[in-house]
Amino acid sequence: MTALEELKGYIRPLGESVLAILIGALIGAIVLWLSGYNAVAAYKALIQGSFGSLGNFAETLSKSTPLILTAITFAIGARTGLFNIGAEGAVYFGAIAAVAITQSIQNPLAGILAGLFIGALWMLPAAVLKVYRGVHEVISTIMFNWIAFYLASWLALQVFENPMNPNSTLPIPPGARLPLLVKNSTLSLAFVIAVITAVVVYVIMWHTKLGYELRTSGLNSRAAEYGGINPRKAMLWSFIIGGMTAGLAGALQVMGIPPSYSISQGLANVYGYGFDGIGVSLVGRNHPLGIIFAGILFGALNAGATLMQQTGVPLEMVKVIEGIIIVAVAVPGLLDLFLKPLRRGKA
């Protein structure tokens, strides 16, 4: 088998994702038009705002950072046969852990490790409930997300609150902040860490015994058992690694984003990434490398939304587009639905 043939295996999923993105953009445009907006101007601004200048592109990458990591949480779950939508809660606690530990240990590594550890810890109850009590992970992770939201609000606003600014936590001390990559932007080393994490997860999933066992369990748990693999153990690991990357997302979100370097406006700057990550993962076909690109795409939508807003279009429009993309991804054989009539037309 040549490299070319190997590549062919990726063309179909890539095509389906691209088609889904186009459908999202098209329906989004129709919605804009029906609502009386200038869709062309809006999309122009969207692209300008995300790729139009080095600063804007830096913003895109910065916005993609947490999305890549939470998408990986979902992807590892999906590859192990799980619908783990609990990244959201792990993000909050990863952020809080980073804020907490760096107050005493002023080193970015401490924050990162704390994020990884607490993220995994937070995911464990859902894992245990799934493996030992058979509680469906969709129900449990959603409940845990709500519990996380309230507990994290309490921790952020009443335990680690900033006495100077009651609506945010203590900031990460300068010694534990991640260096910026582009001046006057919010793009920091965090993005590089996210990309490295994606690559590491790729290596784990496709080049280690553990990853082999996870994927085998996800595809066919009976065959896994036959092959001397314990599918329950695989599920536990899947939750743990997923929790780590989500926790890391939270830690990076406070250690790498100026100017506040804290959890601010309630939980606003750590909120929603767990949910958006699911979409990124689906568009990236639950593959860590695909997720990097899908993450940048979603990051671009979020970054460009600010400029689009100036044309009068509410920035939440990009969420609608994201949602349509996901629904389109959910259509089985999407590509065939379009290609078949085309082929028939030719014949």
Binding site: M1, E5, E6, V203, H207, T208, K209, L210, Y212, E213, R215, T216, L219, N220, R222, A223, E225, Y226, G227, G228, I229
Partner: protein, 508 residues
């Protein structure tokens, strides 16, 4: 002699599956009103396929069906039922949480879709049906709580409630206790007395002899013949069912077996429904010996294999490998101790179809040093070498080591499994249905390879529903029936008739 027009005739039915398997090669059967026709044959003979075609579940590739002289073609089971043909499957199609009444009236509850179901009326009708047949089933208990025999009666009632007058029963006694079988036969006789026509699919000679009026024997997708039961003997039927010509040539030199490698003592294993699937088996397999287990599928073979390969709990008894107690050991430990397992379910257990040839080539040995690097990494270069070796040695036709296994043909998939298991360097090999659904060339290759392993002084346990295979390969063989061995014999010291009898549950 039989001048009457048959109530049902299936003429020249051919069924070729999309993968090219010829299940039926022009089968013609005639069924007369008010009789019980036995459809006798081994597993895979085509009995069930034929009946599924009649019942509208499968489309025939060729052939015609006549019902009361008129040609018919059923698009769905509902269609067949509407025309008075009902079928009770081997695996029941009951809604487990529904009670008998709900299961029976489903789809013909009467009245409007949104009005209250007239339970009392349905109950009255059912009570009348049951009284006529002289049996009772509890109508208000969820069927999953009822014994299998009762569930079967509910299936029969379900069909009768729809006024069918031709009733197909697919291996109806396979899941029943002897007392339940007696009761079922009483019901069938009552139905016959009412003028119903019954097609009774079975591989059990005694039962066919007892209940049917005529028997049509099917072998390898063709009708061998039809006889009047009153003129048949079990011996005759056994010969018709299993007698055959040998297609494949297997070289097997005589060999003295060595020491005992594998031993099972008084093994008891439960099936999925909690039934005693394996009942007190004791046997041993020696080095340089193929020990075969024949028998109709569903007699406990699967549970036996799963128990000895660590995939199912052992209820009672002991399993030894080279004198070491391995009862309850995990698959991984067993592989490391020198066990290899060619599983019966190729696509759901032996392989992960979405994964590549390479990835499948190390299933169950991926932890071994030879495929590992530091930090838990898999040495894919070594795995690729290994895969290429398997492909070359076993002449596996594959697009490449990185092609998904689902792109391989069934025969090549099976060869890959055999190659992988053998590469585990085992002392003891369990081969379950090793050539099922495999083309002739691959079959020959795999069978010869099993003999080669035996010649290399390995111990081989062969479990197969293919009698030819067991007869050809085994040095000693057992015939399994309802969780027990009907006898352990040497293939060259036994007649096909005797084996046929044992497979039908008659002890040698």
């Amino acid at each position: 002699m039989e001048e009457r027009t048959p109530v049902l005739e299936m003429r020249d039915i051919v069924k070729i599956y999309p993968d090219g398997t010829k299940a039926l090669k022009g089968v013609t059967i005639k069924v007369y009103e008010g009789e019980i026709l036995g459809l006798l044959g081994e597993n895979g003979a085509g009995k069930t396929t034929l009946m599924k075609i009649l019942f509208g579940m499968l489309k025939p590739t060729k052939g015609r069906i006549f019902l009361r002289g008129k040609e018919v073609r059923f698009k769905s089971p509902a269609d067949a039922i509407a025309n008075g043909i009902g079928m009770v499957h081997q695996h029941f199609t009951l809604v487990e949480v529904f009670n008998a009444l709900e299961n029976i009236i489903l789809g013909m509850e009467g009245h409007g879709l949104f009005s209250k179901i007239d339970v009392e009326n349905a109950r009255k009708k059912l009570q009348k049906l049951m009284d006529e047949l002289n049996f009772q089933v509890p109508l208000d208990v969820p069927v999953e709580k009822l014994p299998v025999g009762t569930q079967q009666r509910i299936e029969i009632l379900k069909m009768l409630y729809r006024n069918v007058d031709i009733l197909i029963l697919d291996e109806p006694t396979a899941v029943l206790t002897p007392i339940e079988v007696k009761e079922l036969f009483a019901v069938l006789r009552k139905l016959k007395a009412q003028g119903k026509t019954i097609i009774f699919i079975s591989h059990k000679l005694n039962e066919v002899m007892e209940i049917t009026d005529r028997v049509t024997v099917i072998r390898k997708g063709q009708v061998v013949g039809t006889v009047k039961t009153s003129e048949a003997t079990p011996q005759l039927l056994a010969r018709m069912m299993v007698g055959r010509d040998v297609v494949l040539r297997i070289e097997k030199p005589p060999k003295e077996p060595g020491e005992v490698v594998f031993r099972v003592e008084n093994l008891w294993v439960k099936g999925d429904r909690g039934e005693e699937a394996v009942r007190g088996l004791t046997f041993e397999v020696r080095a340089g010996e193929i020990f075969g287990i024949a028998g109709v599928e569903g007699n406990g073979q699967s549970e036996l294999i799963e128990a000895i390969t660590g995939l199912r709990k052992v209820e009672k008894g002991k399993i030894y490998l080279k004198g070491v107690d391995i009862t309850g050991k995990k698959p991984r430990d067993l592989y490391d101790m020198g066990v290899a397992h060619i599983p019966e379910d190729r696509t759901h257990m032996g392989l992960i179809l979405e994964m590549t040839v390479m990835e499948n080539a190390i299933l169950g040995m991926h932890w071994r040093k030879e495929f590992s690097k530091d930090l838990g990494l898999i040495n894919w270069a070594k795995v690729e070498e290994h895969s290429n070796r398997l492909i070359k040695e076993f002449e596996i036709v594959a697009p490449g080591t990185k092609a998904p296994v689902k792109s391989l043909s069934g025969g090549n998939q099976q060869k890959l499994i055999v190659a992988r298991e053998v590469s585990k360097k085992p002392e003891f090999i369990i081969a379950a249905q090793p050539t099922r659904g495999v083309d002739v060339a691959s079959t020959e290759y795999i069978r010869n390879y099993l003999v080669k392993l035996r010649n290399e002084n390995k111990a081989v346990l062969l479990v197969s529903a293919d009698l030819d295979e067991v007869l050809q390969l085994s040095d000693r063989m057992a015939i399994m029936y309802e969780g027990q061995f009907m006898g352990i014999v040497k293939p060259d010291e036994v007649t096909e008739e005797q084996i046929g009898l044992m497979m039908g549950g008659v002890k040698a």
